[in-house]
């Protein structure tokens, strides 16, 4: 039986307007500021609506807890509004995959009560007790916040490594940016696409530069694991990669593109 195919729609959920580029490309372009979007991906096919990441909640929340980020997140690009324009209600989403549990990727998980949220065990364990440097990034209890991924009504499904979620949708554990980051590989009519989360923030991380074949994200936990992840990803078959925070992802409304 043929493996089902899917399409991938990148969803624009607002942006960071003056983001320090070296936070994306570790040790490169210090002081350079860039526009960097918050993204979710709507994966559709085989009768399923799958959401990869749920994006930031709203500007008020960002301003309050993540004041170092200059962001533009108007209400009309909230995930529910964006899905509405796609003709989808929260109950139409079959399940969610979270690439990792940083706030900008899971802050609307509570908008999908009862829906399964696939995430990695290592990510959950770290998110509960991160080092001080990452408290706010995870909105962890240590800084007095309540992370949305643990909110009432949400339904975590905890994975332990690489796994097929449904035919044609697989996740790969890719530690580095966070201890339990995962990439999502989607089978399309044009081959595999890899939704990379923040393991690859922007295309340049994967394409590399004159010095390095791949460049790790500026935010990371363990660069040795990160390098192992890059080696693992070198061996994963895919046609195109979709980074977690690159405006160029939005050049095409739908993947695979012509």
């Amino acid at each position: 039986m043929a493996i089902p195919t899917y399409t991938i729609k990148p969803l624009y959920l607002g942006e960071m307007t003056k983001y320090e580029k070296s936070m994306h490309t570790f040790t490169f372009d210090y002081g350079v500021k860039m526009h960097s979007p918050y993204l979710s991906f709507l994966v559709q096919g085989n009768g399923l609506n799958i959401l990869v990441d749920t994006g930031p909640k709203n500007y008020e929340v960002i301003k309050k807890y993540h004041s170092h980020v200059e962001a533009d997140v108007p209400p009309e690009v909230h995930i529910l509004k964006v899905l509405e324009r796609e003709g989808l209600k929260p109950e139409d989403i079959d399940f969610i995959i979270c690439t990792h549990l940083h706030w900008d990727h899971c802050q609307n998980n509570d908008c999908f009560p009862g829906k399964k949220v696939y995430t990695q065990k290592r990510e959950v364990l770290y998110a509960i007790n991160p080092i001080e440097l990452h408290w706010y990034t995870y909105e962890s209890p240590q800084c007095g916040l309540s992370p949305v991924w643990a909110a009432a009504g949400t339904k975590l499904v905890v994975l332990d490594g690489d796994e097929e979620i449904v035919p044609g949708i697989e996740v790969f554990l890719t530690p580095g940016h966070t201890p339990g980051s995962q990439c999502v590989r989607v089978n399309t009519e044009d081959g595999y696409y890899l939704i990379a989360g923040d393991t690859v923030n922007i295309y340049e991380n994967w394409a590399g530069n004159a010095k390095y074949r791949h460049v790790p994200a500026g935010i990371h936990v363990n660069l040795i694991e990160y390098e192992e992840t890059f080696k693992k990803m070198d061996k994963i078959e895919f046609k195109e990669i979709l980074p977690g925070h690159d405006m160029k992802v939005l050049d095409y409304p739908l993947y695979p593109h012509k």
Partner: protein, 265 residues
């Protein structure tokens, strides 16, 4: 209790004139430029010991080709300074300690033939096969050059973890900036001093800011291990009231020697 006490003399060996400050303070002050002085430390013991901690950078031409432009003023060569300022020849040293094998701390290692150089075993293991992004920093074999520490590799005296190597001289493993970074705990008349190497680049790394108790360095391999190491230094502060001397802070050079003599009131 150690019997010997030491005086610690910082020695200035030039600097990187344009250094991104966030490579000292991870994710803090990105795009802000600062200088990065190279500092070796001479330890002179009441028992007559002469110990050198770190041997500084390569010369400016080598750095321009393989690293970055440096400013090394005339007279900043390590053996010349030891001779002129301290009347110490290389053969007069008892031994050397390398906090870690980054080029800016180990490029003078070959200038002290026959002398033992204390390094952590983990540091050597990592230096031989570092991550691609650290190959230049170590001048590792994969980088395509033969670094000074490789030339002097037969002198390396490997230690495995925290070790008391001499009366009043203890090595402490401080992974983070590099995998096998070690600090040197030096017994002085004024208590224990920690030469923190690049585990603490600047005083600011330790004093922190409004949001963070401490700020780790921007150059590192394992952020989590770095935080564990800072907990270890906190414990030393609590238990032994150590004083910290950072690896690259210009303010370290404001004093000729540590402990700084008390000025009479």
């Amino acid at each position: 209790m150690p019997k010997a006490t030491y005086r610690i003399y910082p020695i200035y060996l030039g600097e990187i004139p344009e250094h991104d400050k966030s490579s000292f303070t991870y994710m803090v002050d990105m795009g802000k430029k600062t200088t990065c002085p190279f500092i070796s430390f001479l330890l002179l013991g009441s028992n007559g010991r002469k110990i050198l901690v770190d041997t500084g950078p390569c010369d400016a031409e080598w750095a321009a080709e393989y690293h970055m432009p440096l400013n090394i003023p005339a007279g900043c060569e390590l053996t010349a300074i030891l001779k002129e300022r301290f009347q110490i020849a290389p053969e007069d040293l008892d031994y050397l300690i390398c906090t870690h094998l980054h080029w800016d701390h180990s490029c003078g290692n070959h200038k002290f033939p026959g002398k033992k150089i204390y390094v952590q075993k983990r540091e050597l293991e990592y230096a031989l096969d570092p991550l691609p992004i650290h190959r230049g920093t170590y001048e590792s074999p994969q980088y395509g050059v033969v670094s000074s520490w490789v030339k002097a590799k037969d002198q390396l005296e490997l230690v495995d973890g925290d070790t008391e190597i001499d009366d009043g001289i203890r090595l402490v493993l401080l992974p983070g900036h590099s995998d096998g970074m070690q600090g040197v705990l030096v017994h002085t008349e004024d208590g224990e001093y920690l030469l923190a190497g690049d585990c603490i680049n600047l005083y600011e790394n330790w004093t922190g800011n409004a949001k963070l108790r401490h700020i780790i360095g921007g150059l590192h391999s394992d952020v989590k291990a770095y935080f564990k190491t800072y907990e270890k230094i906190e414990a030393l502060e609590r238990d032994e009231h150590i004083r910290i001397i950072p690896g690259h802070d210009p303010a370290v050079l404001e004093h000729e020697a540590y402990p700084v003599p008390h000025t009479p009131v």
